[in-house]
Symmetry: C2
Subunit: 238 residues, 2 copies
DNA sequence: GGCGTTCAAACAGTATACATTATAGGCTTA
DNA sequence: TAAGCCTATAATGTATACTGTTTGAACGCC
């Protein structure tokens, strides 16, 4: 039943870093079903290495909030509505400022990449290709975020954004929402092109509010933290 | 010359967690000189356990930014002026909002603790006891931060604040600055008592700006990231 | 038939041994 | 005397074995 997730080693740095990258990318691509159990010894066996590097990588991912470590294996966290609201609150505080920075620092090459990503997103939305749309959306994000010179800021944003990846996967595959998102990206892109930090700030604020609202509307099944039900409150500390 | 840092085990959870807590507290108390080398096997020997739990703990601290891991031991990071500015930028974005939350959620017991911490800080400042002042300041912070219901927000703040711990150690031991800090704490405390979220937001904003300015004034020796000189851009020292 | 107890399997935690790598210091040679 | 190479050492990276704990299932008793 547990199809082996198909991890493969990427040749860069020590084993722990390779495994870490591999698993994180797999998570970021949304290829892991929530509740899926990740067992160190299994992954190690598949990669032909020992448990320790895998264990290190898994624990790092737990510390970064990508996984939760239970007494019985590592799994993807199941977010409650409260979790999502908390994460979005932090994003609302950080991302507008970061966008304002990016409006100042994005160079010609960056803008070109950004434009390409935007066009790709538009094309994907028109074609109704959710996966392609997701990729374009990620490229757009990563591009402007990479231009932010405050690394701590951009890395914090990236991490929190990854934590609500399930949100993105859900909203980005919803056809009517795609149009809204493209409109938001377009507005932000325009601010970047004009190097207008204020506009970038405002539009990013609006964009995130929109994203949160859309998701909340789309997600009746998600429970709050102390409701009964399937979802696990994201307690992770080992 | 390397006196053994006197780690001792705290009885809570598994070994990794114990060691992690121990080392982090040691760092937070400012008992580790920058450049001090932490070697897993040494700590393990002192604690009478094996390398692995210690290694895990050290790597976790590296991931959280408390330490830097080199090919030759773990050491405390040496912050550049740019690093400090970056961290303060994130804190300026997050802490006012968190303070506003705390103004809403602090209960009577919390306010009592807060008041006690404030009085302790005043007493310590009057007595010129920098260490006691530091402790009171930490208690004050931890108290209101603990009342913030958004755990992700409060934990992110706590981490970034810890990263500029060297800043606090420096500013808090500077006599004239102590008065300024007490005044700021007093203003924030008043907002909390009145449950005035707006005032808490504004005063926290002011407080952090003040703290950053004071430190920058106090620290000519700190260089920017690509200046030459003593400070290493956040790499370990050989 | 339901509940409780026990046993087994699975998996994380820990320990120890071995491999690898980088740095520092010394030695040799120009 | 200085510079470059080589070797030794110290510290991390990796592997494997063992232990303890938790969970789930099966059997027996009430």
């Amino acid at each position: 039943m547990t199809k082996p997730i198909e991890f493969k080693r990427v040749g860069e740095g020590n084993l722990r870093a390779q495994v870490y990258q591999q698993i994180r990318l797999t998570i970021q691509r949304g290829e892991l079903a929530p509740g899926r159990k990740l067992v160190d010894v299994d992954i190690a066996a598949q990669l032909g290495i020992s448990r320790m590097p895998v264990r290190d990588a898994l624990m790092q991912l737990v510390h970064e909030g990508y996984l939760v470590g239970t007494t019985r294996g590592f799994t993807l966290p199941t977010l409650t509505a409260t979790d999502v609201a908390d994460i979005f609150e932090v994003r609302r505080l950080l991302e507008p400022r970061a966008a304002a920075h990016a409006a100042r620092t994005l160079d010609a090459a960056g803008l070109k990449t950004l434009t390409a990503a935007l066009q790709e997103a538009e094309a994907a939305a028109a074609a109704g290709d959710a996966d392609r749309f997701f990729q374009a959306n990620s490229a757009f994000r990563n591009c402007w975020l990479g231009a932010v010179e405050n690394d701590r800021l951009s890395q914090t944003i990236a991490r929190f954004a990854d934590h609500v990846l399930v949100v993105r996967l859900k909203t980005l595959s919803h056809q009517p929402t795609q149009a809204v998102i493209v409109a938001g990206m377009c507005a932000i892109h325009e601010a970047f092109v004009k190097r207008d930090a204020v506009a970038a700030y405002d539009r990013m604020t609006h964009f995130i509010q929109n994203a949160e609202e859309r998701f909340m509307k789309l997600s009746p099944p998600l429970q709050h933290s102390n409701d009964e039900g399937e979802s696990i409150p994201l307690q992770g500390r080992s």
